[in-house]
Each structure stands twice: as C-alpha cells, then as structure tokens.
C-alpha cells in the first residue's frame, strides 16, 4: 500500500509518500518560519492562508518526484490534530477530498503519533515495547508504548513544554525567533561552570516536568549579571549553556527513571527538541550506561513533516482503519484516546 501524507498542523506544510514495500518514496517540507518571524510567534490566520497556497503545489511536487501518477496512490493520511484548528482544516479538507475523488481510503492521523512513530522510519528501527519522550514546542510527554495505539502516559510537563521554554528563554536572551536552535548555538560558546540552574522536579519521585521556572531563573540571572558584566555576550552564552544543561539533565534523569519504572530497555526521542545535539549526546551516554538503547528520527524528521504522517497513516490504513466521508480535525486530542491497531 502506498500512502500520501499531509501535515499542516502548525507552521510547516509537509507532504510525503510512504510505500509499504519500498519505504519512503518522496518527502517535502515547506516552512513558514520567515512569515511568522516578524511577529515573534505563529500567527494562526497567516499560517492557514499559507497552507492553502502551498499544500497542493507540494503534493504535485512530491508525486512528480516519486514519478507516480495519481492512480498509484492507495490511501491518504492527513494530520487531524492536535494543532491550530484553521491550519489543520486545510490539510484535512484537502486530504479527505483528494481521497474521495481518487476513491481511496483516508485516515486522520494524530500529530504526536506521527512524531512517536518517526524513529521507526530509521534503520535499525526500535522494536516494541519502548518508552517515548515526545519533546517539542507544544509537548513534553513520557509515554509507555506497548504497540501502535497502545499508549500509557507516564508523565508530562505541568506548565511549559521544553521547546516552549527554549523559545521563551531565547527571547529573554534577545535571540531571533524561533529561538530554540539559536539558543543551542549560543550555548556552544558558553562556560558550563559559571552558572548552575536547578533541575526542576528531579528531587522527588514521579515523571512529570516543569520548565517554566527555568526561564524565570534565566531572566533573573541575566538581570543580576548584565549590569556588571564585562562581556555581555559571554554572559548571555553562559546563561544559555546553564539553561540548556538544566533542561537536558532534567530530561535525561526522567527518561532514565521511566526506563527503570517500566522495565523497558529501549527509549525513543521525537519532536523538535530531540534534534538538540547536547541532548542526544547526554542521553546516549546515560542510557547506554544502563545498557539501554536510544533511537531518534533523522534531524529532518524531528520537526513537523509529512513522512511521519504518511507512515503513521499507513500503519492504521493497512490495519483497516479509515475515516468516513468527513473531516473533523481537533485542536486538542489526547494520544491516549487513540484506538489500538
């Protein structure tokens, strides 16, 4: 079965084709970052307006690239939530209508299930069961994954998502939007020994996270240090480093704890923050010290993309799941509410 995947949940238009026998045949992502940069965040109406311009041309591009004609597509998968409702609606309406007109089945995919399954597109792919850390601008969740659709929430952020904390702290440090990757770049020049930030909620049992305090800690440190700083740029870099170290350490501690609690040996990381290099290094070291294994998507598939939607959709469509003749995207949707395959 060959599935066309459509992702439009936020500020990236992603289209891909996944073939059950041949794997990923084509993949393209168009990012709207430049449109939203001047506003310091995603403007939902502008995101929707751009998706309606870009989605269909990108579908044609991907079909051409895969040298496929429309009749060679056996199913359509579109992101049905969670995300910006207006943005989701573009991909959902277009995808469902395409499938209707092609007379093939369609499936609405959970965006986070897409992220969660993205490491399975790599070689070697992890076997079930595993623990998944979904870590992005919108989510920080630890999930016990028994199989596709059999998810148990182990812990999540009680306030800011890790990526959100990255972006907000980057703003405090005066970095351009989207700040997360910029902050990581700045942190490379930082002195890890100058400041030490707390590792929130690691001093007590449990697998929940809290990251909003770290940005306040960064702000206070900056206000305290900047007036007397000889090298303001170095101070910023040192704060960036201390912040990044605190987030990374916290994530590592909780992942290790989740593996011990579940008894699983495999950990997968997915979502935008899982592209962070320091996180990958520390996580690999910590988990391999416990004789566990860590799996990641390729950096391109850490952020939003159509490949993960095509792949997740393929799993559900081949299991016989599909949508009726409608599209009802949801801004909010719990991963745990998904049916098993």
């Amino acid at each position: 079965m060959r599935v066309l995947g459509i992702e439009t949940s936020c500020d990236e238009t992603g289209i891909a084709i996944y073939d059950g026998e041949r794997g990923l045949l084509a993949d393209a992502v168009y990012s709207q970052t430049a449109i939203h940069a001047q506003y310091g965040g995603v403007v939902p109406e502008l995101a929707s307006r751009d998706h309606i311009r870009k989605t269909l041309p990108l579908i044609r591009q991907v079909l051409d690239h895969a040298e496929l004609t429309a009749t060679q597509i056996d199913g359509v998968a579109f992101t049905a939530g969670p995300g910006l409702i207006g943005a989701l609606l573009v991909g959902a309406a277009l995808g469902r209508s395409l499938a209707w007109s092609w007379n093939v089945p369609a499936i609405g995919v959970h965006h986070m299930e897409g992220h969660l399954l993205a490491p399975l597109l790599e070689t070697p792919a992890p076997n079930f069961p595993f623990v998944a850390l979904l870590v992005s601008g919108g989510h920080t969740q630890l999930i016990d994954v028994q199989a596709i659709g059999r998810y148990r929430l182990l812990g999540e952020s009680v306030d800011d998502a890790a990526g959100e904390a990255f972006d907000k702290t980057a703003k405090i440090l005066g970095l351009p939007y989207p700040g997360g990757p910029e902050l990581a770049k700045l942190a490379e020049r930082g002195d890890a020994t100058r400041f030490r930030f707390p590792r929130p909620m690691t001093d007590r049992p449990g697998l929940n996270f809290s990251f909003s305090g770290l940005k306040t800690f960064a702000l206070n440190t900056l206000q305290q240090e900047l007036p007397s700083a000889i090298d303001a740029e170095q101070t910023r870099a040192d704060i960036a480093r201390a912040f990044e170290d605190a987030v990374v350490d916290t994530l590592v501690i909780k992942c290790r704890r989740a593996l011990r609690e579940t008894g699983h040996r495999r950990l997968i990381l997915a979502g935008g923050v899982s592209a962070n290099q320091r996180l990958r290094e520390r996580m690999n070291a910590a988990i391999s010290a416990e004789r566990g294994e860590v799996f990641y998507p390729r950096p391109l598939f850490c952020t939003d993309n159509g490949a993960m939607i095509a792949f997740a959709g393929w799993h559900r469509l081949t299991a016989g799941q599909y949508e009726s003749l409608q599209f009802t995207p949801r801004a909010r949707w719990q991963l745990m509410d998904l049916p098993p395959v």
């Binding site: 929707s48 307006r49 209707w100 007109s101 009802t328």
Partner: protein, 225 residues
C-alpha cells in the same frame, strides 16, 4: 454540462449539481459542522444522478468573501477533488451568488450585497442582473465600514445579506433612500454559485486545481504588518 458547486462560506453548507439543464441542491444550516457534511452532500448529488466525480466537466465553489475558515474549507475541498479528477475549477464570488439568489427568489435586477464582516465592517458588492439573467458586478467588491459603502446612482436597489441585519441603522442612513427592500437573512447557496459558474465555464473563465484560491477581501489580519 455537468458541474458540481459547493459553498461553505457562512452558516449554510450547500452543494449543487447542474446536469442536463436541470439543477439539484442539498443545503443544510450546519454552523461549525461543514467538515462533517460537505462531502456527504456532494456524494449524495452524484449518487442521485448516477455520476462519478470524473464524469463532471467542472467543479465550482464560493470563493469568498465570508468566514475565512469557511472559504478556505471550500477551496481545499475543491482543490483536492479537482486535482484528483483532473477537472477545471470555477471560483465564484459569494456576493455575486448572493445577488443571483435574490434574483432567483424575488426577480430583483439591481442587488446590493452586504455580509457582516465583523469588526465594524461589511463585505460589500453591487450587482446588476444582465440580459442572460446573470449577476454582474458593477463596482469592485470591498470590505469597509457601513458608512463607507458606495453604490452606482439609481433608486431601486434591493439589499441582501447579513450586513443589512448587523448594521441596519448605519446602512439605512447612508443608502436607505435608494433601497426598495431588503432580505437580511438570505444565505449564499451553491445552486446560485453553480448557475454563475456554468456561464463562466462556457466563457472560458476557469482555473486549474492549484489556481483555486480563496478571496478574503480583508487582507489586514495582523496588527503590526
């Protein structure tokens, strides 16, 4: 001529099929439930006529103005269907369709259309029904305050659309002397989109699936642009 048209620009959700000089329509008042209904309505019309999408000559949609989300939904549905079946697309103004609908119901040949655009504004259009009984725009469609609307001089206009409800006093004080009646509760309907689209298609006014785009009229959607 076999043409399927849809409109999801407001609270009503409708689809209409022109087939062998007859027209069939399905319309539902389904606020915020267009995604559940629109493809079903389209399928029902095709089933009844024993047609498939690929049998059609063209697809059409109400391209706006109206609810941003609504006109984008119609656009996306038509883009998808047209791309998959390789069909041409005709985009029809929802204001023109509203005027066409008023002619169909009441026979008025000079129609002012005003949709509530919120934020103290209306989507505004002026239409004349021509010798072929088709609504033709006689002034550029615009979004503006009710006090700013302009209309070609004549005394027998008929006003239609939610704007005449939301801004009744404002509109009445500006153009009341030129109005001989209003219907503030009429919806844009796919059957009127279809009638205008069939004529436009015959005149070669169609685009490819990718060329199907919404018309918002309101392009200022952020504060600091």
């Amino acid at each position: 001529m076999k043409l399927l048209a849809i409109d999801t620009s407001g609270d009503a959700c409708s689809a209409a099929l022109i087939f062998d000089n007859s027209i069939e329509q399905r319309l539902e008042i389904a606020p915020r439930r267009h995604g559940e209904r629109i493809l079903m309505l389209m399928q029902a019309l095709l089933d009844e006529a024993e047609l498939q999408v690929i049998d059609l000559d063209a697809l059409a949609f109400g391209c706006g103005p109206g609810s941003f989300t609504g006109v984008r939904m119609a656009t996306a549905v038509i883009q998808g269907a047209a791309f998959a079946a390789n069909l041409p697309v005709v985009a029809i103004s929802t204001l023109a369709a509203l005027a066409q609908g008023q002619f169909r119901r009441g026979g008025q040949r000079h129609v002012l259309t005003a949709l509530d655009a919120r934020m103290g504004e209306v989507y505004w259009g002026c239409f004349t029904i021509d010798n072929n009984d088709l609504a033709v725009s006689c002034a550029a469609e615009r979004v503006c305050a009710p006090s700013q609307v302009a209309l070609p001089k004549r005394a027998d206009w008929f006003g239609v659309g939610s704007g005449f409800n939301a801004y009744a006093p404002e509109l009445s004080s500006v153009i009341g002397h030129s109005l001989h009646g209003i219907d503030p509760f009429a919806h844009c309907e796919a059957q009127d989109v279809a009638v205008l689209a069939a004529a436009a298609f015959d005149a070669g006014q169609y685009v490819s699936a990718e060329g199907a785009m919404p018309v918002y009229l309101r392009d200022q959607v952020t504060r600091c642009q």
